[in-house]
Symmetry: C2
Subunit: 250 residues, 2 copies
Amino acid sequence: MENNISKYHFTVEPFSEDYRGNLSWGTLGNLLLRCASLSAGTFGFGYEQVVQRRLAWVLSRLIIDVPAMPRTGEQFEIQTWVKSVYRQFTDRHYAIMRPDGTAYGHAVSTWALINIDTRQPVDLSQMPDDQLWQCIVPEREAPIAPPTRLRLQTPELLAEHKAAYTDLDINGHVNSIRYIELLLDRISKQEHAANPVTRIEMQYAAESGAGHRLQIFADRDSDDARRLYVIKRDDGTLLCRGILHRSNNG
Amino acid sequence: MENNISKYHFTVEPFSEDYRGNLSWGTLGNLLLRCASLSAGTFGFGYEQVVQRRLAWVLSRLIIDVPAMPRTGEQFEIQTWVKSVYRQFTDRHYAIMRPDGTAYGHAVSTWALINIDTRQPVDLSQMPDDQLWQCIVPEREAPIAPPTRLRLQTPELLAEHKAAYTDLDINGHVNSIRYIELLLDRISKQEHAANPVTRIEMQYAAESGAGHRLQIFADRDSDDARRLYVIKRDDGTLLCRGILHRSNNG
């Protein structure tokens, strides 16, 4: 089991924090995706390897649950492993660890492998060499509450964002973590200070690219502890749903 | 001299690139500021040290000149040193090096040290213990063309951005590199592909914070090789000027 858990060591460096000196959600989110990519590469099914077969990993769901972030200069380790593989999806789990072996928090992600040309998901049971199946760690589960089952009741348009160059990842699509930042920016600095975000749930439905106008809707009935959002393209296509959970004390 | 040059080793990691697989300007810019901060800390005048005397470093000018960026998986080293110190400003230079000892590019930055309460610059000749003066490397100069002397002739409002939570650095101000990203986003993905940005010049005039509306103006007469911008607050306060230089071949 230990050999199938990838471990990456980090320090909270200057210019990777939010204004309170906490590791920023954007930095952490991109580090989680980086570790997923590096770990997959180690086991033979990373970006460079699957793209040779015209395949690409697509993030379908991401939950990051970190009640208290590491702060400037503090060290942390991201541990990641494949928790399970289904026909069309695979779950990857993460632990964000302190040097003393306790956890800052955890994350879970769900991925599909699609054909770049047809955009259709691949049957993961047909992966060559069974690389993906051989590194599963079914017995270790990130201790994280299941996804919240809530839908927006009364959506209200909060903001628009025209996707552009710096929003794009290497696939030419708006980076998954960028959507999270667009949601975090809907909460004022004062509200972030009073009730910090402690958990983020994202469900990704479709991709967007440069020039697309993204519309960010929130549920008018969202309470302070749980804000519900959807992001759509201006042609109505659902891009993602997101929930930001916030602590009760600042 | 060697001992006064700080060196930091990096790899272009997944999710730090632009859509073409080049290290992104945003990632590089924040790494330069990180290295400046870490190096200053090593010599006793970093963020944590000066803040104890109610002082803060403020970036006044930044030129980054990188004709070809490192790409996914490639290694690079950022070398940085204090080039000179004047009464109100200090110049820090940077080299972005390949493993073979040749340079990807260079950067220069100009900093002032201000009193957090009065916002007035400190006389750098009065720095205690002469730490800043003792680590100067006057004989090594980043080989970089001097700043372009150009002013906007016919400014045209291109876009607005409301500064929010994820734009802020640890001082609570919009991160200096974020302004660069706002300018890069004014050039379309197709134009970035045809004529990549190779040099960025920024002159910072004032700070902005959460809730401020930033207005991005460009010179209508900018040519493709050299785009001129200013960013103002909607109350008219000049925040920064920027010039993006672009290559002639894609």
